[in-house]
Subunit: 299 residues, 2 copies
DNA sequence: AAATCTCGTTCATACTATTTGAACAAGTAG
DNA sequence: CTACTTGTTCAAATAGTATGAACGAGATTT
């Protein structure tokens, strides 16, 4: 027979109590049973763990070392059982979370970090996507939570609004649209290329707590280099606006849009313990950002 | 019944092969045996690991998570068995090593580090002691190896000589013995306090790979502060001699002594695999120091 | 669509490992 | 010297596990 956890449990108990008899009491087994278990372990390892020459059986040097090794195995097995217990209590084994890249990622990352630090069984999988990708991932890949600017709500979902954010219509400082200080009409706007990130980035298997980034960064880069104009979230371009590397396009129908980020989940599958905890953590992080802005972006 | 390794082995094999039948082939057991094992695991965990609604049983989300946890347990148990195998092959469970603090500790520490990096089962216990303490620990505490300047060899021991080192008779620059540039006689010398480290430092239980330091440092400090004169190893006081914080005492019978460090073990218990490996490592380190001195002390 | 395969469960049976208490040997305490 | 404790060994009892046959349900083939 192969190694068994029971043999290790016996070994551990004997070492802790210092005798077969005492260990037997703890394990509610006859002394002879422990004797049997130890002997079978010794046989399978082909090692002598106890010195029987003495009256009270004492561990050999090898035995002492192996007790420690045994405990490492037992610790792992306890973790296994604890994980199982958590799952039994309803903790989700996996929590897939899709974030719209337009949303400020600072608090999201902080929440992820904080959540991981909570030693929760749940594997958190975070994917950052753009535009239609967000909903697509939520629906097709069966994510559990989505943080999006999407307004649709088909009744199958519930959402929790977060503090609003702004999108600004901007272009590079050399772009024709911003050369003169005059209002831009729709037809004028449509003469130029609009830069939007929407490529469906190839998505392989997500290993636990992995992140995938979509192309918002490329979009910003494109606008910066003057390839075209585009809607970008204010928090991502504060520096560029200040340095006048990006300039607001004075579109007559509006160059500023308020959008409400929402945490969305399916009505059919309400958030479990991990999701709830994660949402709370995220809200905390956002509160901290809104109330006491520690970042330059705040002013 | 409690959790068993066998259940975890079954779970692992099923996941690896993708089916009960294939796993059964690997484990040389009937499919029904695996079915039984899985069910008993599920019962004890009170969790469903496989979805039997489908034709080929597929892991549930919980199951997938627990397979990974199970593997961690199995890895640990494999380490346990590997440790046992090493012990069976004759590797010492423990290797106690006493070092004379007068000897250059650089290569000793390097050897310890290197040895630990070898992933050897053996627990290395290093104690640094002074003068009589060295032999005392070797004999009373039953250390396996000793690195000493001791010359005694009562026929029960074998020793391996290492490159020689020097002890110098020195005193602080303000000490009366070194105020004039004249030779010092024995009677003169005996008028002053000789500083020697020899206190039997209290020694508690040594946990694995722990170090205990004796009082050579205090001795050096005492000589430096002018409390008295003393014999100190050159490698420890090169800097002080250069800065003239310590000065050689021109004792007429000699102020320089060559001593041969030796690695000693009992004839009765020749070095096992770990001890042999450790001695080799130590010799390598010393070779490196002697041949290609990378240290300022070398010039 | 029918026949055939494959997969996993269930069941009764066979087996094997473990448990038990009693008997024993050897050491310890009063 | 006696009473007690400790751990081993043994035969018998027990509980857990393995097995192949029977089965149902999906796939695959023809």
């Amino acid at each position: 027979m192969g190694l068994s956890l029971d043999q290790l449990r016996v070994l551990d108990a004997i070492e802790r109590h210092g005798s077969f008899t005492a260990a037997g009491k703890e394990l509610r087994r006859a002394t002879s049973a422990l004797s049997y278990a130890v002997r079978s372990l010794e046989d399978s390892l082909q090692l002598t763990l106890f010195d029987r020459a003495q009256h009270r059986a004492t561990l050999t040097r090898e035995g002492r070392l192996l007790v420690d090794e045994a405990r490492k195995v037992l610790e792992r097995s306890a973790e296994f059982e604890q994980t199982a217990a958590r799952l039994r209590d309803g903790w989700e084994p996996r929590l897939a979370f899709v974030v719209d890249g337009l949303v400020p990622l600072g608090p999201v990352m902080a929440a992820v970090q904080s959540f991981v630090g909570m030693q929760i069984v749940t594997r958190l999988e975070v994917a950052v996507a753009s535009y239609r990708e967000v909903r697509k991932r939520f629906e097709r890949d069966g994510a559990d939570l989505m943080l999006t600017l999407d307004e649709e709500d088909d009744g199958n979902e519930r959402s929790l609004p977060l503090p609003p954010m702004e999108l600004l219509l901007v272009a590079g400082v050399d772009h024709p649209l911003v050369q003169e200080q005059r209002r831009i009409s729709r037809s004028e706007l449509e003469e130029y290329i609009e830069i939007a990130a929407s490529d469906p980035a190839a998505l392989g298997d997500l290993s636990p707590s992995q992140f995938s980034f979509s192309d918002l960064r490329a979009q910003r880069q494109a606008v910066l280099q003057g390839v075209g104009f585009g809607w970008l979230p204010r928090h991502l371009i504060n520096d560029e606006l200040r340095d006048r590397r990006l300039v607001i396009v004075p579109f007559e129908e509006g160059f500023r849009v308020r959008r409400i980020p929402r945490i969305v989940h399916r009505r059919a599958t309400p958030p479990g313990p991990a999701a709830t905890r994660f949402i709370e953590t995220l809200q905390d992080e956002i509160q901290q950002l809104v109330r006491g802005p520690r970042r330059r972006a705040g002013r």
